[in-house]
Amino acid sequence: MSFNPVIQSQETVDLLATSFAPALVMHRSRRDGRADPLWLQWTLTGVALFFLTIFIVIPLVNVFAQALAKGVAAYVAAISHPDALAAIWLTVVAAVVAVVLNVVFGTITAWAITKYEFRGKSLLISLVDLPFSVSPVISGLVFILLFGAQGYFGPWLQDNDIKIVFAVPGIILATVFVTFPFVARELIPLMREQGIQDEEAALSLGASGLRTFFRVTLPNVKWALLYGVLLTNARAMGEFGAVSVVSGHIRGETNTMPLHIEILYNEYQFMAAFAVASLLAFLALVTLVAKVVLEKRIARTTR
């Protein structure tokens, strides 16, 4: 029946391999030339999984194990301590402000970059990405240099009794700085791929620019925008270095969750530190699950 004996024999080999090694089935290797020898598959898979387990899985598991080391009651007590609750509240506030500002301005930036042709566009894209390559510590330092007591606007702020550094506004500024690229970064590739035909059609039918944006552009990019929000939120809630520099570390007032974790840890309250950390680790897991779901939806909208 078969016109191709080579392929048939390869299938037999695959079948044999499968029956001898049920756990490790060769993937997309029905054809000659692409299949690695079985011993190599086993070795490489072993090395990769060992590396990933040691470096990523175990640290994550450890967070939850240490958090629950003294039982559920101690865990609940640690995360409902007034200082912990104040830190959670401040973290949420900073994240919400950062998300809202970056959604508004990130969307406008992505629109300007993808809907028009102009000179210097690639420079603008690089500038949007800039915060990614700046050390978190430096991201905080620049705001001390601007608004600190010895900073450029320091004396003026003091005269007018406005506190930015070592207070909540500084924390928010640093958070907005480090999360600046996420929304625009997620939107730009998708909006570029989608082009401007849809907008042109809406405009030619008489819709206004704003109406076109809300009724045509926004529905087209909603999943990518949500993904950008997700990444912005995760980074905002977890930011440590930049916020640490501008916070002043006042308990119950200017401590975010990561800073509270640091204080607890340095006071040898390890279990409490891990309890607060487990909340952020849980957020990270939720973010990852949502990422997998959203990426599928985004892939569908790009077609």
């Binding site: 490790l24 692409r34 598959q41 175990i58 450890n62 500038l127 050390s135 035909q197 990561p258 950390a277």
Partner: protein
């Protein structure tokens, strides 16, 4: 298809709002990113050149910079090797929990650095899960330079994997089959056909992991031990100088690091352009 052809004939700027959206973008960018970064360089110019050189070449600063750059390089190289193996396994093989391990790669992106920091420190401390296994062998990880290396490997891994993975996925099966048909051994095919295609992405991933590791703070300071001239990284030294109100010192070190990251960013951009051109040619 039809709308695509029509689009080519049309004038591109029928969408309104160019002036206002670009204006708002540039204003926001200037306020949040450009002016603050410019302030750093402006502050640096207030130092005399001799003073700047004296700060940057002081033994403690030099050691911190060497440590940050050296260990970042070592960690990025480690991630290059194991990242490539991980990509190969995830793309080419089928095994139980493959999708779970694929998702797990992003954890260093998503997990806050302070959480990673205390988790790694606890693991590698002498009474920790891994530290207690290494202690009888005489290997100390926590509170040594090796600990910093471990933290930098953790945060850098996704950069290599997520840069190389799509390129290997898009690699056409025909290329390898042709090579095999023409008599190339599997090893020759990997060396002469697959590897050259992956090089731009590998270099980009390496540079991204390196750039991230150089400036890393949160995951490192818990595990580092932070001994001056031994295990004190450059970002930590900036914070120490700030807390001592030695703003000039903090600014000078930051300026050196920032220039280094700009150079890295430029290299990454060039690499990505090279990578895209490679992909376009195929």
């Amino acid at each position: 298809m039809v709308s695509g052809i029509l689009l080519l004939r049309r004038q591109p700027s029928v969408v309104p709002g160019f002036g206002i959206t670009l204006g708002v973008s540039l204003t926001w960018l200037s306020l949040i990113i450009l002016i603050p970064l410019a302030a750093l360089f402006l502050k640096t110019t207030e130092l005399s050149f001799e003073r700047f050189v004296a700060i940057v070449t002081s033994p403690r600063t030099l050691h911190a910079l060497e440590l940050s750059f050296g260990l970042a390089l070592a960690a990025a190289a480690t991630n290059l090797v194991f990242g490539l193996i991980a990509v190969w396994v995830l793309v080419r093989y089928e095994f139980p929990a493959r999708r779970m391990f694929d998702a797990v790669i992003d954890i260093p992106f998503a997990l806050p650095t302070a959480v990673a920091g205390i988790a790694l420190t606890n693991l590698y401390a002498e009474n920790g899960w891994i530290g207690s296994l290494l202690a009888p062998l005489g290997i100390k990880v926590a509170f040594t330079q090796l600990g910093i290396f471990v933290a930098l490997v953790f945060i850098g891994l996704p950069f290599v994997v997520r840069t190389v993975q799509p390129v290997l996925q898009d690699l056409e099966a025909e290329l390898e089959e042709v090579a095999a048909t023409l008599g190339a051994s599997r090893w020759t095919t990997i060396r002469r056909v697959i590897f050259p295609t992956l090089v731009p992405a590998l270099l980009t991933g390496f540079a991204l992991a390196f750039a991230r590791a150089v400036g890393e703070y949160g995951s490192v300071i818990f595990i580092a031990g932070n001994l001056p001239n031994v295990s004190e990284i450059a970002p930590l030294l900036i914070i120490i100088r700030l807390e001592e109100f030695r703003y000039a010192d903090a600014t000078a070190i930051a300026a050196v690091m920032l220039v280094a990251s700009f150079i890295l960013l430029l290299i990454i951009n060039l690499l990505q352009r090279w990578s895209e051109r490679r992909a376009g040619k195929r």
